[in-house]
């Protein structure tokens, strides 16, 4: 089993890595736990599997790309 885990923006800086690989993962939360050595996940963290939003209890399967990132802030500026 091979899972890619990605972190973006502030979370990437907090976790200290942009990307890692894991071998044995059951769900999104366990991917976070392994990749961050059990850091606590900030409340507003967004999770995606294969570029689709999922909840943190979504199951992960071989080949999946799991991503973690903070709330999005695109669009126009200084609303």
């Amino acid at each position: 089993m091979s899972i890619t885990v990605k972190f973006f923006a502030r979370l990437r800086e907090q976790v200290g890595q942009a990307e890692t690989s894991l071998n044995d993962v059951s769900d999104v939360q366990s991917a976070w736990n392994q990749a961050t050595q059990n850091m606590s996940m900030p409340d507003n963290t967004l999770c995606a599997i294969n570029m689709q939003y999922v909840s943190s209890d979504a199951p992960v399967k071989d080949g999946d790309e799991v991503a973690f990132f903070p709330p999005v802030t695109g669009g126009c500026y200084a609303q």
Binding site: A48, T73, G74, G75
Partner: protein, 144 residues
Amino acid sequence: MPSEIHSAPFDPWQATQQYQKSQLEPGKYGATASFVGTMRDFNQGDNVTSMTLEHYPGMTESYLDKICEEAKQRWDLIDCLIIHRVGEIHPDDPIVLTVVWSAHRKEAFEACRYLMEELKSRAPFWKKEGLEEGHRWVDKNTPG
């Protein structure tokens, strides 16, 4: 493709004109509503000298296309265009462009606003402001 990510400055008016010329059938659309978000030089009382926009290559494009598709399902539209900047951005640079072409103006206005609201809440982009005394992540989009 109704959505584009640009890593260099773009001219939203020229982009709209070019897209319209190359993609729209003349005489069929009666209404074109557009929105441009431009970088200001201040935010929350602070001078902002630059901004870095990060995205999730692949997922961002896919969500922008998805938002266009959803707008087309919800309203009777002819076409949509979304362009979003990433990378280092300076004051007065356009950040985002949304355009909707339709037969009638109601649909164009409503769908153009929908694209912006959905994009802000769902498309994976993150802003980091460069201030005179360092950097800060923009935590959330305030309503507006």
